[in-house]
């Protein structure tokens, strides 16, 4: 386990609250963000710096604070404490001047109007719009322009929301779970279009709870959980971190399995105590060692599986609690 990638991030350790030289040049600079909704801590001390041109995935389960984080960046939510700078400006100024735009999660549209009518209006409000035709083309909604918004499918509505976010021709583009409601084909097409948009040098931050999306589309992945950043690193690092393997087998003691190289921990399975469940950093090494050891003749029913994402999050979160303690 590579503990260097775990929270608190090296970034937050090196930056002092008082003087933050990165805030002026960074595309996004978040420092000590806290935000509570009643008893719920949506953001619990978030520090994040995103450089211009970066493509970053915010990965985390529902309720991790991803949406709140984005709402704070566009000025829709005000943090209880902490500082936000978007290209050095406060979120409201950055939003008014078109520096930042967001594709809001299930953002409301006007169901009685046509796509064209609504987009024309939103286009007229932009500080520095891209040509409407260009946004329509980039979001691939040409054939939807004459349709009434209330009649669009979930995936089509998402494409319209994507077009809305592009209208302002922003330097920083936030996408909050952009592929919700899309089937696999639509998802693939969406990311294809997103890559074209990204190729023009925009800073892009997208929230997702799909690990595959995060590692495929982003160079950098930030994992959030319960309002905190629990891991921050390259897609490969996070992927390795999250996608550790689980080996389950019968016929050996947990302690003996835990002693194998590549195995981080092993314990009897809660559901089936005769089964040993081992969390591995390197499943290949563990298996090689297993079959080279005296255990080779005893074990049976050996299975190698990927942990579910929820389990992976718990894995990361559990470790970050240890390092914080």
């Amino acid at each position: 386990m590579n503990s260097a990638t775990l929270a608190p991030t090296p970034d937050s350790l090196s930056s002092s609250r008082a003087a933050d030289p990165t805030a002026e040049t960074a595309a996004i600079s978040l420092r000590g963000l806290r935000k509570s909704y009643g008893p719920v801590r949506a953001l619990d001390g978030v520090d994040l710096t995103v450089q211009p041109g970066e493509i970053l995935a915010l990965l985390g389960p529902n309720g991790a604070g991803k949406s709140t984080c984005m709402e704070v960046m566009v000025g829709l939510a005000t943090p209880d404490s902490g500082r936000v700078a978007i290209h050095g400006a406060d979120p409201v100024t950055a939003t008014r001047s078109g520096v930042i735009r967001a594709m809001l999660q299930s953002g409301a549209l006007l169901p009685d109007q046509t796509v064209r009518s609504m987009l024309t209006m939103l286009h007229s409000l932009q500080a520095r719009p891209m040509p409407l035709a260009q946004a329509v083309e980039q979001a691939d909604i040409g054939e939807l322009m004459g349709r009434r918004i209330g009649r669009l499918s979930g995936g089509q509505a998402q494409r319209v929301r994507f077009a809305i976010a592009l209208l302002g021709d922003p330097d920083v583009l936030l996408l909050d779970e952009p592929t919700v409601g899309m089937d696999v084909t639509a998802r693939r097409a969406f990311w294809h279009r997103m890559r074209e948009v990204a190729a023009t040098g925009r800073t892009i931050v997208f929230a997702t709870h799909h690990l595959e999306e995060a590692e495929r589309e982003a160079a950098r992945v930030v994992v959030m959980d319960r309002g905190r950043i629990v891991a921050d690193g390259s897609a490969e690092t996070i992927s390795a971190l999250v996608a550790g393997r689980i080996i389950t087998l019968r016929g050996a003691h947990a302690a003996a399995v835990a002693a194998l190289p590549g195995v981080e921990a092993a314990a009897p399975d809660e559901a089936d105590p005769t089964r040993v469940r081992a969390v591995c950093a390197d499943a290949d090494a563990a298996l090689r060692a297993l079959y080279a050891s005296p255990l080779a003749d005893q074990v049976h029913d050996v299975l190698v599986t990927a942990p579910g994402l929820e389990e992976a999050f718990m894995h990361i979160t559990g470790h970050s609690d240890e390092t914080a303690a």
């Binding site: 041109g53 008014r96 409000l125 040098g201």
Partner: protein, 280 residues
């Protein structure tokens, strides 16, 4: 911080391959940024156009007061040597404007309260511009109801020269400002169906207590004194003053001004609350 120095920053993610930002990103200073007022006016134009082209909405908002003018005009129009016809016209124009103002207010607000306001804000419209745009859009939308009742009045025997007719329409139009704010406030404070239902109740109350349907003098004393605190009563009184003459009802200006001020503050305050409420 102006937008001028934003994209000048080179793509310098530490240890990361990023495309150059300079090449594809146009220089922001070359682009003209519209003012908050310009954005509010653009929002006004679009919203007013959408409402004016809503055939159902416009038909109802015009047919009701015109029908009632024709009914009451036939019944009482010839009283007081025909002057009553003018009063009925003013009252029904005020009623028509009132109904449209409240309905437009709640409807405009309803469209936004489900979260579209968030899209507008993220698109660069400030909450204040949104409020201004909503008020202006509603005040455009009430013009047809006012004018058509007035024109039907002229066509059916109301005596007025062009100047006093236009002055009457203008006074009614201006006087309806607080009722637009009532509609918007209702839309912000009540949810969905409750906003339209609340709008109907408030409309009826303002019409009856304001003496728009029947002269206030026909009602008991407590209703009369209540009516004199309402903008609807004074809107009609001001309209009669421009049409027929007499003393300027100064109290009316004060009452309408007070309502406008209080409701304006109420709308501004509940707007910031409404933004928070419309979270997913």
């Amino acid at each position: 911080m102006t937008t001028a120095d934003l994209t000048a920053t080179p793509a310098s993610g530490p240890g990361r391959d990023t495309p150059a930002t300079g090449s594809a990103r146009p220089a922001p200073e070359a682009r003209h940024q519209p003012s908050a007022t310009a954005r509010a006016l653009r929002y006004t134009g679009h919203t007013a156009r959408m409402t004016l082209t809503n055939v159902f909405f416009m038909a109802f908002s015009i047919a009701m007061p015109v029908g009632m003018y024709l009914l009451f005009g036939t019944m009482f129009g010839d009283q007081a040597d025909g002057a009553a016809r003018g009063i009925v016209m003013v009252n029904m124009a005020a009623y028509g404007g009132l109904g449209t103002a409240i309905t437009a207010g709640t409807q405009i607000q309803e469209d936004q309260r489900n979260g579209f306001l968030r899209q507008l804000i993220v698109s660069g419209l400030s909450p204040r511009s949104f409020l201004l745009g909503s008020v202006l859009a509603a005040s455009v939308v009430i013009v047809p109801a006012l004018m058509i009742v007035g024109l039907v009045g002229l066509a059916t025997g109301v005596q007025a020269d062009a100047g006093s007719f236009m002055a009457t329409m203008g006074v009614l139009w201006l006087g309806l400002l607080p009722t637009i704010l009532i509609g918007i406030a209702l839309g912000m404070l009540l949810k969905g169906g409750a906003a339209s239902a609340g709008g109907v109740v408030v409309l009826m109350a303002l019409a009856i207590f304001g003496g728009l349907w029947m002269p206030l003098e026909m009602f008991p004393e407590w209703m009369q004194s209540t009516g004199r605190l309402l903008p609807s009563y004074w809107i009609a009184q001001l309209g009669e003053w421009t049409l027929i003459g007499g003393d300027l009802p100064v109290t009316g200006l004060l009452v309408i001004g007070t309502w406008t001020l209080v409701l304006g503050v109420l709308c501004a305050v509940s707007l910031s609350k409404a933004i928070g409420l419309t979270r997913r």
